[in-house]
Amino acid sequence: MPSTTHEPTFAVKTPVFEGPLELLIELVEKRKLLINDISLAEVTNEYMARVSHMQQLSLPNTAQFITLAATLLLIKSKSLLPVLELTDEEEEKIEDLEHRLKLYQIYREAGRTIQNIFGQHMMYESAFVLPDEPIFVEDKFTNLSALSEAARNVVTNLPKTEIKPKVQVKKVVSLEEMIDRLHERIQRQLKLRFSDLIKDEKERGSVIVGFLAVLESVKQGSILVAQARRFDDIHIEREGKGAPGYF
């Protein structure tokens, strides 16, 4: 179960996911799917939508979610463009994600059991009975120099303010913006190359979102995409213009 935010500023209760694996597994389980490339491709759009929503809310940790999104997009692209050849490294990344997700699922289930039984039937130790008249026992620590040193140690080991990491979220182009831009350019240019589409984007996240936008349009049938060889540029065309029927 995702933890729910208690921030009064959100009028609508938005489930807040602590990490990307939690969000991903939630999406897979919601559809009652097993963890594999097919199910992951299926949840990619929703995952991206959630992440773009997180960006709009400027939630912390969004950067971690975007890192995982890159792998998810690889899976998605492979499922939409079977001709797409993946490098060994990419294949590994995908396998690793599936692996981590399956392992995480086991612990998540185990965690549910623990949450259910936690504190339900406590076992108690004996209550501490205060000695009536404790005898004063001194030792090597009961002097000012040892105790002030101990105090300094305590201060040194204090956690640095808040432990919760506050990752700086960089502004990444939203999915919608990217799709709009794509359509506009197709109208104008009829044919463009993927590298042109993203050439002004320096952020990796924008490239990812741009790529998803292309894939999305392919799925909707509004453009045609082709890639001659891997690492080659992807050619995008408006459908119905009888351009080279690459695939």
Partner: protein
């Protein structure tokens, strides 16, 4: 018999003499029932390391069996011979510099649970509970005996007092008020 196990758990938990009249009321039972349960408990414990002691004052208590007295005495002496250790010293320092301070605050400062250390410091007469138990547990302060031993009349006289106190105060200010930290 269930009552017997209930009584055993309660006496173990209380770890001190409990009035039979209290047990009667607590378990809402009659003298015969309770008597039978106590006799049975006494019998069952007779072969074990613990005993059920019934006092003239109509109190009952679970204690270690007398044949283990020597072993227990050895532990008691060993325990007192051992020093409080660096974890004990740190806990004691927090109480000295910032006491009276609740257990939860001590735990947060040190990032670990201090219950057992606090017991040891109390047994050694180094710290004592103050006031009554609140939602944050008891508060603790240094005993007069410790202060006299250290020759300290007021906290401000402790080495680096200002630095340590400020650091601990600043830390406390970053901590959530409520108990419900995100676990």
């Amino acid at each position: 018999m269930e009552l017997e196990q209930h009584i055993e758990a309660v006496l173990f938990y209380k770890a001190k003499p409990v009035a039979i009249s209290w047990l009667l009321k607590f378990f809402a039972t009659d003298a015969e029932n309770l008597g039978n349960a106590l006799v049975s408990l006494q019998q069952n414990l007779s072969t074990r390391g613990l005993r059920l002691i019934v006092s003239d004052t109509k109190e009952v208590q679970i204690m270690t069996a007398p044949e283990h007295a020597e072993v227990i005495e050895r532990i008691r002496r060993d325990d007192l011979k051992r020093d409080i250790g660096s974890a004990g010293a740190e806990t004691l320092a927090v109480i000295l510099y910032r006491g009276p301070i609740s257990r939860i605050e001590i735990d947060r400062i040190r990032g670990v649970n201090s219950s057992f250390i606090l017991r040891n410091l109390q047994i050694r007469g180094l710290v004592e509970r103050v006031g009554s138990e609140s939602a944050r547990g008891y508060s603790y302060q240094a005993t007069p005996a410790l202060l006299a031993h250290l020759g300290i009349e007021q906290k401000e006289g402790l080495p680096d007092y200002a630095t340590v106190a400020t650091a601990l105060d600043n830390f406390a200010a970053t901590q959530p008020e409520a108990e419900d930290a995100a676990t």
